[in-house]
């Protein structure tokens, strides 16, 4: 019981899940809505609105059976048609949902009866059920889509009360929530507090109960306070040093390799994250069972990098501009770290900060050299495939990497019938990613929440979801 006051660090643009793009929005998405499935704390997929599901042997026909008696906040019962409408809306280009690519694989869908929905896929896909754990794929009532942005209606544990842009979102307990006894809280107030100092101060004075995604600088301070506690979990959210493989000088794999060689990932993790992350090779985090332990984490070898550069025709190095999105502190620090670490290798990096909107429009996918970052994906396939497959959505728009061998491996992994097969394929994929270095992924970030000792039952989610169903405050 009680009210939980939680802070996020940036304003929410929208409460319409299909259009959500930032972590703080996903916070709202998981409080108000549900998906057909859910990615649980152990990163496995579990039933949510769908009680169970079936897949055909060719992995192309998927049938989901909805839970009975689930009600939207407006009192109407959830029906299969809502699911169809939700996905159709995501597929509509005019909606502009980032999840659209995920569902391009869907050839057709159909509500077989009010509680059953069936999807026909264009190609076999083992991870289809996980896609419904994706943030944008929240199921929305088909008759209230137009007001979702300002007055969202979902099936989630909390009902929307009010949203004051720039200030707060107020949610109250959904008494008709389908999981019995949940949620425990009466009310959730999500406050928008961009200043990390203000967040921490509010946490110490008891004005906040929980700081979602605690700023890295503040961790030590919160840890030191006996009235507060810190909860942390490794994620597969990563930042990357993006090299456009189609642009000189990064079209030469030796140059890319040299850059990767010169970057000391341990040092970068220290600089950018104050150590609150783990060096890795690809979006696959070291905590993942498929992680390739045999590969070595780069220790920073400027001499070797220099040699490689000389081979590639840059004996005196070269000068390049590195773009970083303004206002993303870790990525800015990562940029500066790259600049320092590449200096001994003879590469002169000019760091340029770009406002985020300009970054999206003019830098991402267009510039030759920049820092970018991506949230955890619900499945290992969605975490890897789009970046490394030559037809992968992010790949074509990011670094234009292409290696047929990689494509074969990724396609194979999608249809892997067993864990072992998948593991072996992904181990090879990681090795190839390091060998070709389309870009450098130095680390995955830990997701950390700071909270008052009064808060019980909260566990940080590796997907950075804010799961408050079991939480209570004294």
């Amino acid at each position: 019981a009680g009210t939980l006051k939680v802070s996020v660090d940036s304003n929410l643009n929208t409460l319409d899940p299909a259009k959500m793009k930032g972590g703080q929005e996903y916070v709202a998405a998981y409080l108000i809505f549900n998906g057909l499935t859910i990615i649980s704390h152990d990163m496995t997929v579990k039933p949510d609105l769908a009680e169970r599901w079936e897949r055909s042997d060719d992995l192309k026909t998927w049938t989901f059976y909805l839970r009975k008696g689930v009600k939207f906040h407006n009192g109407r019962e959830l029906e299969a048609e809502d699911v169809v409408a939700t996905i159709a809306r995501i597929q509509d280009k005019a909606t502009g949902s980032t999840a659209r690519v995920n569902f391009e694989i869907v050839e057709s869908m159909k509500a077989l009866d009010p509680l059953t929905v069936q999807f026909q896929l264009k190609s076999p896909y083992a991870g289809f059920a996980e896609l419904f754990g994706e943030r944008q794929a929240r199921i929305v009532p088909r008759d209230a889509v137009d007001t979702l942005a300002s007055k969202p209606v979902g099936t989630g544990p909390f009902e929307f009360v009010s949203f004051a842009p720039g200030d707060r979102i107020v949610l109250k307990r959904n008494p008709a929530y389908f999981e019995p006894g949940l949620p425990k809280l009466d009310e959730v107030i999500v406050r928008i507090l961009p200043e990390s100092a203000a967040q921490v101060a509010a946490l110490t004075t008891g004005e906040l109960d929980l700081v979602w995604n605690l700023p890295l600088e503040a961790i030590d301070k919160v840890k030191a306070d006996p009235k507060l506690k810190v909860d942390s979990v490794p994620t597969s959210t990563w930042d990357g040093v993006i090299m456009n493989n189609a642009v000189k000088p990064f079209d030469d794999p030796r140059v890319r390799k040299a850059v990767a060689m010169a970057l000391d990932k341990q040092a970068i993790t220290q600089i950018a994250l104050f150590g609150n992350g783990t060096p890795t090779h690809s979006p696959i985090p070291p905590s993942h069972p498929y992680y390739n332990k045999d590969l070595k984490i780069a220790k920073g070898d400027p001499a070797g990098a220099k040699k490689l550069l000389a081979e590639a025709g840059y004996p005196n190095g070269f000068e390049v501009t590195l773009h970083t999105p303004a206002g993303r502190a870790t990525r800015e620090r990562l940029g500066l770290a790259v600049r320092e670490l590449l200096k001994p290798a003879g590469i002169t990096v000019n760091v340029q900060r770009v406002p985020f909107d300009v970054f999206l429009k003019d830098i991402e996918g267009k510039a030759g050299f920049y820092i970018d970052g991506f949230f955890s994906r619900p499945t290992i396939d969605t975490s890897v495939y789009p970046w490394y497959h030559s037809r992968g959505s992010w790949n074509t728009a990011l670094w234009s990497y292409s290696n047929p061998k990689m494509d074969t491996l990724l396609d194979g992994a999608r249809q892997a019938k067993s864990e072992d097969e998948a593991k072996s394929l992904y181990t090879q994929i990681q090795a190839l990613a390091v060998e070709d270095s389309p870009g450098v992924i130095p680390y995955v970030i830990n997701h950390i929440n700071g909270m008052s000792a009064k808060v019980h039952g909260f566990h940080s989610h590796p997907m950075m979801f804010l799961d408050l169903r079991n939480v209570s405050v004294d």
Partner: protein
Amino acid sequence: MLAYTLTRLVYLALVLAVMSVLVFLVTQAMPGDVASMIAGQFASKEVVDAISVKLGLDQPLIVQYGRWAAGILQGDLGRSLVLEQPIAPILMEALARSLVLAVVALVVVAVVGIALGVLAAVQRGKLADQLVSGVSYLGIALPDFFWAILLVLVFGSWLKLLPTGGYTPIAEGFLPWASHLVLPVVTLVLMLLARIARLTRSSMIDVLQTNYVKFARAKGMPESVVILRHALKNALLPTITVLAIDFGLILGGVVVIETIFSYPGMGRLLLFAIQRHDLPLIQATILIVSAAYCLANLTADLLYAFVNPKIRHGMRAS
């Protein structure tokens, strides 16, 4: 007075009209565009185009402007593209919060600043004057954001006395509401106090040298009457003007202070709009902010005219 007011209003309308065109053009010239903002990372061109069509962004500029201006004249500020909500209520809410900040800060500044200015003028050259001058130098010496940071550090982090950010509606109780205002108000006061105190001091010194003050003394009026009734009334004229302009400035959004204290006013709304490239929101915010600023300036001039019997009657006469 009426003629003057009418003239000023006509001017204001003209200025706002020109400004609306300017704002519209400048925002159009901004890099990046809404459709790709909405479409997000790596959206294909078709997606962007589809969104453009849906939002009417493919229309010629004049058509877009006409639609927008016509809407504003009818009190419709448009819909925020990013928030997907009508702008007016959001803006009004932010404006109301900025108003609260402005009024409270201004009252404090006026009372304290004028008192200090008068004290310094009366004690000209003495210790009190030097103290006031010194303190006011300190006030202007440091930028507002630096004061803000220091205040957060001292009152929020060390003393843990006051909330360092955010805003609580007064409906949740007076104390929480007031406590959230303290630090931003103090920062604003530190910024504005010096100017008001110095201005009051210098105009007070001028007025104290006038013949009518001398004559009031020659009538044997006690010094308190001379200062409060005879001198202050006249010395306040320039101060009133500056106070009103300051009011406009605060209303117009103290971007930095609102950012540091996470105060959800006009300034942060504007910054948010710019960062998200929400054109209608940017346009509406700038227009309202500028209109508020112009109105405050107008009020300043009218107030000045009204407080000053010379102008008040001069205008009635002509």
